[in-house]
Amino acid sequence: MPVQNYIDIFSQNRALIDKGSAGAMNALRDKAMKSLVRNGLPHKGLEEYLHTDVARWFEPDWGMNLSRIDMHVDKAQAFKCNVPNLSTLFYFLANDEFAASDTAAKASLPDGVFIGSLREAANRHSEILEGYYGRLADMDRPGIAAINTMFAQDGMMIYVPDGVIIEKPLQLVTLLHSPVDLMVNRRILVVLGRGAQLKLLLCDHALTGNAFLTTQVVEVFAGDGSGFELYDLEETHNANMRVSELYLSHGADSKAEIDYVTLHNGQTRNSVFSTFAGRGSSLSLNGIATIDKEQHVDNMTFVDHRAQDCTSSELFKYVLNDSSTGAFAGKVLVRHGAQHTVSEQTNRNICLTRESRMFTQPQLEIYADDVKCSHGATVGQLDEKAMFYMRQRGIPQAEARMMLMQAFVGEVIGRVALEPLRDRLNRLVEKRFRGELSQCEGCRACR
């Protein structure tokens, strides 16, 4: 559908959209529409979208559940995707509808902590929602923030007040379920006070074989001295299209770790916009993509060093099989005065077949002199010498190849701070390379 159709749908169903949502979310819709009219959808003609024509994904006549009909999602399926040995607070987003597991609902959270749906937040904590919702997502840069803001009706909000540490990781399983091809617009807002700490695990699954187009906008405000970990795992299917944007603002002396893992998908575009607003903060930003067939993964990162003494480290690795295509664009901007910035960025890729294709584009833009910045990118194959060494010692070729690929992505998995998740990822990646896709034991969701 052309952009105009979306604008028409929006105008005609405005009352319905508002009714299924609340407060601050409704307040921003008009501004979002004006922005969409001005900028359109991101297309291949834009430098940032050179290798992913997101606008084309919006062309089919997607269904949209604006009247919020109950899709009868079997949430129990999601439990089969839990991480062994990792005790988490379990939540769901069924399409964009929030629900807590029984244990999570009963769990006693520290005073002032809010974990719930955005609609509920609009009623109970409107001041927080108004203060933060849509403040980071830049609707005027090429992307999907505008169309997401127009149509998003629900999602999740996490608010952790000053000094509160949530020990247990939060696991949010997003389940795509629909009897027809569906467009889902979901939204996640995370606000961490001074010294607050949170670990969030996002798992993306599709329960039905229909095509899905998901737009996801995540906004994270990390207060001074806070600690934030985000693990975003995608295990969907070939008919799934996902555009995700993460906006992250780092307070002074805060620490963040972001990991993107694409194990199975159709077409994926992840964008990360990270801004160092206060001094002395750090970011570890990592990604893995193991894809085959016609799959496509495009990770774009933009790290904006506005403050002094901040550190950013990025490591992205791709293994491309069959006719899959991968793209990585990483930009590091060191602004005037952001002295003592240390930034490193690495993107390494293995193309296993002639048909697979990789585009990589690391970028440095630096306006301060007392900095140490580097980036490196490689595209190549498995190390023949290592392969020869293993073959010589009696390891069959297929096994040796597997071990090398696993070691290759193992470097990224090794950066994951949560140990049980690390083990889980190693297991999933191994299965992926063995051609068993990435299904979790007995789980319908991941097939």
Binding site: E47, H336, G337, Q339, N349, C351, L352, T353, R354, S356, R357, M358, F359, T360, Q361, P362, Q363, L364, E365, I366, Y367, A368, D369, D370, V371, K372, C373, S374, H375, G376, A377, T378, V379, G380, Q381
Partner: protein, 486 residues
């Protein structure tokens, strides 16, 4: 003054450094009226006494140029250019009172090239030295050693002369590497180009001396649009050097050139540039806009093309010398030092297009930014589907001198073949305090220490230059950094 203040004050002093080639030559020059229309193109062609096919070539390019827009994707802040306010042809060799002798050169012009250190008298050249094609504004003034070279079958002459005397070669190769549709400035150049050099090295010939072209802008209100074409036939070798300077003026002058190189089986071409166009004053006033398209088609098997550039001049540089590696086993190299100072802007780098099997490319780029300048490396490594065993290594380092300048890296990698290995590394930093401390400790003053380190930093590239140019380049770097960094 503590060491940081001292360093900063030294860095400020760079700005005071004067451009030593900024003089003008008072010589009678015929300049055509400003503006660009089909008539201008016809007039240029007529002045140069060109055949009809050449005029057609120009007109096609001009008509295409009219449909194009100036590119804005580079990391450059380019002020609006009024293409109708430039004169596209200036001839300093035109005689006031009728032609006397074609060989006779205005003594003022001779003096100019003497002053620039370019010997136009063959007897003054060092033995085994350099053959020079000297171009002032739109006209080639003189080409030396033509006879010596002709004995080996080598053609080295101005483009105008080549169009008249070697039309078959020109028809075959002109525009074969850089088509007039390639980009905005390529179309402009194809329409209005004037002299540049033409080089043809026959099969199996190793050019006995360095060939060189020296470009000088002299007249005000003009631009320079030269065109260079080098064809190296099978098993031949040539080393070609290019130098350039311009007077200091408050106006911005446009230089939009095209360099095309064709390298056949097992041939090798080394192309070196020391670019020293007037960079503008310390407030960013004046200076040359250097928008150049340089590309080599490495057509033959095991052929090799090597670009080496030292870029210190120009107010704005937009330049990406490239190699299309078509022949199996062909090689491309790009070595670059780009120094920007005051308010200069540079967006420069290379493109390596791997098409043949077992092709190799190496990219070494060293950027140095000082003052308020912005210095960007932009590169593309493209590996085609059939380029089995393609190998690339790129390294781009940037050095920042002062806190008001910028250093940027924009590499693109596009790999379509699973047997290719492509590696890119980039670093950006300021001069290591440990290295400075080490030098200071051994009694080397700050100024010299910084110079020593910067020269060491650029050495990897300077070493690739022919001797005559290496000395000049090293001097240029130290002049730019004098009283600052050495």
């Amino acid at each position: 003054m503590n060491s940081v203040e001292q360093e900063n004050s030294l860095i400020r002093e760079i700005s005071a450094e004067k451009y030593r080639y900024g003089f003008t030559t008072d010589v009678h020059t015929e300049i055509i009226d400003r503006g660009l229309t089909e008539d201008t193109v016809r007039l240029i062609s007529e002045r140069k006494g060109e055949p009809e096919w050449m005029l057609e070539f120009r007109l096609k390019a001009y008509r295409h140029w009219l449909t194009m827009e100036m590119p804005h994707w580079a990391h450059l802040d380019i002020p609006e250019i009024d293409y109708q306010n430039i004169s596209y042809y200036a001839d300093p060799t035109a005689k006031k009172e009728g032609p006397k002798s074609l060989e006779e050169i205005d003594p003022q012009v001779m003096k100019t090239f003497d002053k620039l250190g370019i010997p136009l008298e063959e007897r003054l050249a060092l033995s085994g030295g350099v053959a020079v094609d000297a171009v002032m504004d739109s006209v080639s003034v003189k080409t030396t050693f033509k006879k010596t070279l002709a004995e080996k079958g080598i053609i080295f002459c101005s483009m105008g002369e080549a169009i008249r005397n070697h039309p078959d070669l020109i028809k075959q190769y002109l525009g074969s590497v850089v088509n007039y549709r390639d980009n905005f400035f390529a179309a402009l150049n194809s329409a209005v180009f004037s002299d540049g050099s033409f080089v043809y090295i026959p099969k199996g010939v190793r050019c006995p001396m360095e060939l060189s072209t020296y470009f000088r802008i002299n007249a005000a209100g003009t631009g320079q649009f030269e065109r260079t074409l080098i064809v190296a036939d099978d098993d031949s070798y040539v080393s070609y050097l290019e130098g350039c300077t311009a007077p200091m003026r408050d106006e911005n002058q446009l230089h939009a050139a095209i360099v095309e190189i064709v390298v056949m089986d097992r041939a090798e071409v080394k192309y070196s540039t020391v670019q020293n166009w007037y960079p503008g004053d310390e407030n960013g006033k004046g200076g040359v806009y250097n928008f150049v398209t340089k590309r080599g088609l490495v057509k033959g098997v095991d052929a090799k093309l090597s670009w080496t550039q030292v870029e210190t001049g120009s107010a704005i540089t937009w330049k990406y010398p490239s190699c299309v590696l078509q022949g199996d086993g062909s090689q491309g190299e790009f070595y670059s030092v780009a120094l920007t100072n005051n308010w200069q802007q540079a967006d420069t780098g290379t493109k390596m297009i791997h098409l043949g099997r077992n092709t190799k490319s190496t990219v070494i780029s060293k950027g140095i930014s000082a003052g308020h300048s912005q210095n960007s490396y932009r590169g593309l490594i493209k590996v085609g589907e059939h380029a089995d065993g393609a190998r690339n290594y790129s390294q781009c380092d940037s050095l920042l001198l002062g806190s008001d300048c910028g250093a940027h890296t924009f590499p693109y990698m596009d790999v379509k073949n699973e047997t290719a290995i492509v590696e890119h590394e980039a670093t950006t930093s300021k001069i290591s305090e440990d290295q400075l401390f080490y030098c200071n400790q051994r009694g080397i003053p700050m100024e010299q220490a910084i110079g020593l380190i910067v020269n060491g930093y650029a050495k990897e590239v300077l070493n690739k230059l022919p001797m005559e140019f290496a000395v000049e380049a090293q001097r240029l770097l130290s002049v730019s950094l004098e009283n600052t960094v050495g």
